[in-house]
Assembly symmetry: C2
Homo-oligomer: 415 residues x 2
């Protein structure tokens, strides 16, 4: 039987013959290592993914903190559904379009970790809230925005739950002075369409654990003071932070002992879900060195995304040109890392530890190899990535594989 | 009338409700500056695009060189069709999936500027050739690959036109020694399924014009020698080079005076089609400084891609956070450059020349602004880009706009 390849599937969309038949087109029996799938392709190990999802659910559960995974990392509804099934309190998003994907995946709460700006985006959210029973949270840090948001939604039936973002000097968004904080609270109070529901921070802009912990403590203290001042419109007051690289510090800062009973602590980790072998693995090693709970869970976060590609050319001793590029994998936080080699007899082995990607172009990667390498054009090399977000967004379809490289599902992204 | 936004369109695909209705969903009357479209979005100025397409068609025509624009830049069939209508000899591609998109767009010749590797890719090409009357060219620089390609297609009815890629030391792909060149020619001759049809180079890996010209002269001389040696299987022998940053040097090297009559000179420019305000504008200034024909055509290549985004937050004096990021625009060859400002009354003016993007995160960009800026959250800023390839691949839909920012079409990409 001649098998269709995933590139054929992509071609279906590229050739504009309709996306509806993707699931039907996925035939059983594909194996990535046996060249049943057109390369380059993106693979996701199912067992490792499920492990990571459980791991963070366990970690936050044992920390008495809710988790609202950041959907922007994967933008893959099939993954959102697994995160929700594992107990995610909400799906976090960056844009209204992402909010639509989250709701379509079954999220009943959506936390937009951004201000909601602009008329067309307001309309899109209005439509979403009109046709779904969900609670929507977004951030505010600006008086103009509070007015625009409050006025627009005053003409609708919807209540927007707003979280004031606290920022740090020279950081990203957020309030960095107490006068503006007071003005924002007063402005929000003018609008029945807005419910002040909590405090949000993104600690990821800070570079060291001490600064992160201090900022989180400041956020908790501010939130408790504002509760005492009776400024919130909701019974439960959310306090939420990012958490991809510092989730342990967030869980420590948000420990129940540090909060009042009506506070709802929410962690928004993104990259844990696929982890990586680059910046997030480095962050995880630091966490394991300082955090007992992370060491005690009996399993580990494991890199589960791989780019599989052919050796495209062997022009000179010492260099292999690989058939993937900046169009296929993140390159902003370290280059992809060779993990596996499949030769032309289908023999699978660990990649040579001396192979190293040194440069990426749009559609090619230059890999340094020993001068006497036996690597040949047509061999396959698999690569782990660093920074999953910017690898996911390169692909419309992802091959979900078992530990023997069999394709067990093809899932779609919604970037 | 409530207008649907392009983000709504994207949502249609993200929400998996089918892509088929995109054209129907595009309502007339949208204007980007009047916030009819959800931001961030990618815009393409129609008049400038048509100018660029004509410009390069004129340039190559006056140079007596054929052009086969590299489709990987845009992967937008609507643009391929305009390039073919302007006289493109072929569409150049990097992968078989891209070849399918080119053929679907009407290309009768496809030039794959890569070796064709791997069983699933062979099958995909086999299917494409079985169902379309096209001529397919690809590169070879490796004996293993020639054997695999020749053996696979010996079992089909198809002839693969192969071009030997000549390379440079420490470059990308391609043959860098004369012994391998001779061996490749001998190997290709063993297969009736392969027709040796010419010589290919990618001069873009070289850093200075003198080295580029010398390499091109070497390629021409090699091709002429091989014609004298009677090694080619086709009456007309193709000689082809890249040309995005050095198209003038390619056209000079491929001047009819330098070629024999049976040589077919083909330029494969990619980024000219949208141009940019970054690396390609810098390359164009160098070309204008050295090339008379480029100066004489009566118009100019003009940047025609823009990211439009909201001011997302104004956390501190001197910094604006803009609502786009690495998910929305290229960042590998300089950050996007502010071009326009639209205030909340809809007033459009040139962007302040002191505004400058200094950092990009996945979904945010940090822009330096004067401390006394009047820029406000909810204002719109438009940005030209540097390196169009890595901006196109971030978007599934592009707003084609007229010079007054009216959306005249919504075109789809096929990455």
């Amino acid at each position: 039987m001649k098998k269709l390849s995933v590139a054929n599937l992509e071609t279906v969309s590229r050739a504009n013959k309709g996306l509806g038949n993707v699931q039907q087109l996925h035939k059983s029996g594909w194996n990535i290592a046996q060249q049943d799938v057109s390369l380059p392709c993106l693979c996701l190990y199912e067992s490792r993914l499920l492990n990571n999802i459980s791991w963070m659910a366990d970690y936050t559960n044992q920390s008495h903190v809710l988790f609202a995974p950041h959907g922007k990392t994967t933008m893959t509804p099939a993954i959102f559904k697994k995160q929700l099934a594992a107990g995610a309190y909400a799906i976090t998003v960056a844009t209204t379009a992402q909010a639509v994907a989250a709701v379509t995946s079954g999220a009943e709460r959506v936390l937009m970790a951004n201000q909601l700006i602009g008329r067309a985006n307001y309309q899109q959210l209005d439509d979403l809230l009109s046709s779904n029973e969900i609670v929507f949270y977004c951030l505010v840090d600006n008086l103009d925005n509070v007015r625009m948001l409050g006025e627009y939604f005053a003409n609708t039936q919807h209540t927007i739950h707003v979280l004031i973002e606290l920022g740090v000097p020279d950081g990203r968004c957020g309030v960095v002075n107490s006068q503006l904080l007071a003005e924002l609270i007063a402005e929000i109070a003018k609008f029945d369409s807005l419910a002040l529901a909590g405090i949000e921070v993104y600690e990821g802009v800070l570079g060291d654990p001490l600064a992160v912990s201090q900022f989180l403590e400041y956020a908790v203290a501010t939130c408790k003071q504002l509760i005492a001042d009776n400024v919130f419109d909701t019974k439960q007051v959310m306090i939420t932070a990012g958490g991809s690289a510092y989730y342990d510090l967030v869980c420590e800062a948000f420990h129940p002992d540090n909060l009042t009973e009506n506070m709802l602590a929410v962690l928004r980790p993104g990259c844990y879900v696929t982890h990586d072998q680059g910046i997030y693995e480095q962050a995880q090693q630091q966490i394991l060195a300082r955090n007992e709970l992370a060491c005690s869970l009996g399993s580990e976060l494991t890199s589960c995304l791989e780019i599989w590609a052919y050796v495209q050319s062997m022009p000179e001793p010492g260099r292999a040109i690989i058939g993937f590029g900046k169009r296929d994998a993140a390159f902003d936080a370290g280059f992809p890392i060779p993990t596996l080699h499949v030769d032309q007899q289908g023999q699978i082995s660990a990649a040579n530890s001396n192979w190293k990607i040194e440069k990426m172009m749009d559609q090619h990667a230059m890999m340094k190899v020993p001068n006497d390498t036996t690597l040949r054009v047509g061999d396959i090399v698999a690569f782990a990535t660093s920074h999953p977000c910017l690898t996911f967004d390169k692909w419309r379809y992802i091959n979900v594989i078992d530990d023997n490289y069999n394709v067990v599902d093809v899932v779609e992204t919604y970037f």
